[in-house]
Amino acid sequence: MSQLYYRQAIRDALREEMRRDERVFLLGLDIGRFGGTYKATQGLWEEFGDERVRDTPLSEAAIAGAAVGAAMTGMRPVAEIMYMDFITIALDQIANQAAKLTYMSGGQARIPVVFRTQEGAGRSSAAQHAQSLEAWVTHIPGLKVVLPAIPYDAKGLLKTAIRDDGPVVFIEHKLLYGVKGEVPDEEYLIPFGQARIVREGADVTIVALSRMVLKALDAAEELAREGISVEVIDPRTVVPLDLETILASVHKTGRLIVTHEGYTRCGVGAEIATQVVEHSMHALKRPPRRVCGRNVPIPFAPVMENYVIPQAADLVNAVRELMS
């Protein structure tokens, strides 16, 4: 075991897979010598050179499209979309091409492509550099959607994503890159569709995505002092979704909170809450709660930014209300 930063875990996953399989290569903006905006590819250009760590022109549609074409013809590209907000520009290739070509071709196309991107607020980056748009890709059949919250998951899931034979959208979080965690020295993979029970508890289930996992833990810690026992579950992949683990928890606690930074309306939280209700409404003592991003663009000034994305305190309040 080593203590690694999330960004190092990402980098190690990329490095190991590039060493293992020469078809794996990276393309994106400033991922080479510059090492990526959040330094998650640092050192890879030095090891693998221009050919396999490819800086591109500022062309997200071409980055994604070139990755799709390369994936269809024998390569295993990892394409980076620098901020998830910019996925707007690449979305035709991701949602209309990568997601659908296998199906449209009657199963012929194999498209082992990973779209790495990064989301999240908290750095005063304002409305176009802080969105968490996982709901968009979750909506589109054919895409797998991964959101690791800790270095261990980041590494194991990214390796799985690269070995997956279909398109995967791999969503990191800009405020997690500098967070440390335990990562085994030996190789491991984490299968998609297996939630992680981050903390066991009996009173309330919090299903948390990405950085909200950390805030949920903070909330659980605080609530424990009041004698409220919170179970925190990180689905890790929202497509495929490990509904079973979530349902088992809800059957135990009878109370559900879903939390993510993405906008509340039509967010992944609505999907998870609905699936839980569809299957186990009778098990719920109270209606499910969403503690998610408010339905406004993300403002610049920190005081407002902190208000529009959920904080641990918001979770604490929501839990208390559910328990009252």
């Binding site: 499209g65 074409g69 071709s105 012929q108």
Partner: protein
């Protein structure tokens, strides 16, 4: 943009007669496939939409004659000609148009999405311009794998107004990729004439923005297309990078079957129909003694027989079950 007359002139003697006959056969196959598909569509046998490439046969025939079997193409909504020229067979194409399980895409794709990866057909595409970045990525893959493959992206004049065209062409230039961008400039994007799509006189001119050659040829002359494509493909294969090849041609039918195409002057349509690429080429073949009228007749008959068999195959093929819709997602 002024409508230009196809270059006339004799067949270059250096060309292998077998090649010429191959190109001819391809054009006949495309012509007949399209004619029958229209009939079947009008008879209500085919679901969905049909975008016919009647009148444009010389472009795919000329271009694909310059390709190796393992080269790749991407195609468009108007893609039957491209994939026939790349070697796909009538029976599975027809079956796809009929939405049958024996179709190239098991009835999931239809006319607009025919693909055969085993023949290098990476798929027709319903999003105008979207095949261009994909072709560019396939060229990157060929370059990285050092496979010697070349990729052709087929697209229309309208597609060059898409951001995807621009981004991909620029990327290919920077990375010097083995790709040939073949624009079938048929003077219209649906109802919109090129003069209202762009202010330059040729699509080829757009290559200037990327730093690779742009060439305009008579798209109704399969040999002019072939020669230009051969040069571009050789360039690409030998590491010389991309080329933009504009082929001026014309679609005889409306944008889709059912579109009366009243936006086009009757004289313009007539002018182009007189320059029927197949008839002109056949006249040349006969004049140059490559083959006789009878031999040409025989080709038509053979193709007809093959086509009727394919239609029969399609009609006899099983329709998918509703639940088949749930298969063929990635993995």
């Amino acid at each position: 943009m002024s409508v230009q007359a196809p270059a006339s002139g004799a067949i270059p003697t250096a060309l292998d007669p077998a090649l010429l006959l191959r190109i001819h056969l391809t054009m006949v196959r495309i012509r007949q496939f399209e004619q029958r598909a229209i009939e079947l569509f009008m008879a209500g046998e085919l679901p969905g939409f049909l975008h016919s490439c009647l009148g444009q046969e010389a472009v795919p025939a000329g271009v694909c004659a310059a390709l190796r079997e393992d080269d790749y193409i991407t195609s468009t909504h108007r893609g039957h000609g491209h994939v026939i020229a790349k070697g796909l067979s009538f029976d599975r194409m027809m079956a796809e148009l009929y939405g049958r399980t024996t179709g190239y895409c098991k009835g999931k794709g239809g006319s607009m999405h025919i693909a055969d990866f085993s023949q290098g057909v990476l798929g027709a595409n319903g999003i105008v311009g979207a095949g261009i970045p994909i072709a560019t990525g396939a060229a990157l893959s060929a370059q990285m794998r050092r496979s010697g493959q070349v990729v052709v992206a087929f697209f229309g004049d309208g597609a060059t107004s898409q951001g995807a065209f621009h981004e991909a062409a620029n990327l290919a230039a920077v990375w010097n990729l083995p790709v040939v961008y073949v624009c079938e400039n048929n003077l219209y994007a649906v109802s919109t004439p090129v003069s209202r799509q762009m202010r330059v006189n040729s699509v080829a001119q757009r290559a200037a923005a990327y730093g690779f050659p742009g060439v305009t040829v008579d798209g109704n002359d399969p040999l002019a297309v072939y020669e230009a494509a051969r040069a571009a493909v050789e360039r690409a294969r030998s590491g010389g990078g991309p080329t933009l090849l504009e082929c001026r041609t014309y679609r005889w039918m409306g944008h889709y079957i059912g579109d009366p195409a009243t936006y086009r002057p009757a004289e313009e349509v007539a002018w182009w129909k007189e320059r029927d690429p197949l008839a002109l080429f056949e006249r040349k073949l006969i004049e140059t003694d490559i083959c006789s009228q009878e031999e040409i007749q025989r080709v038509h008959e053979q193709v007809r027989a093959e086509l009727e068999a394919a239609i029969e195959f399609a009609r006899q093929s099983p329709a998918p079950a509703p639940e088949d819709a749930l298969t063929d997602l990635p993995q």
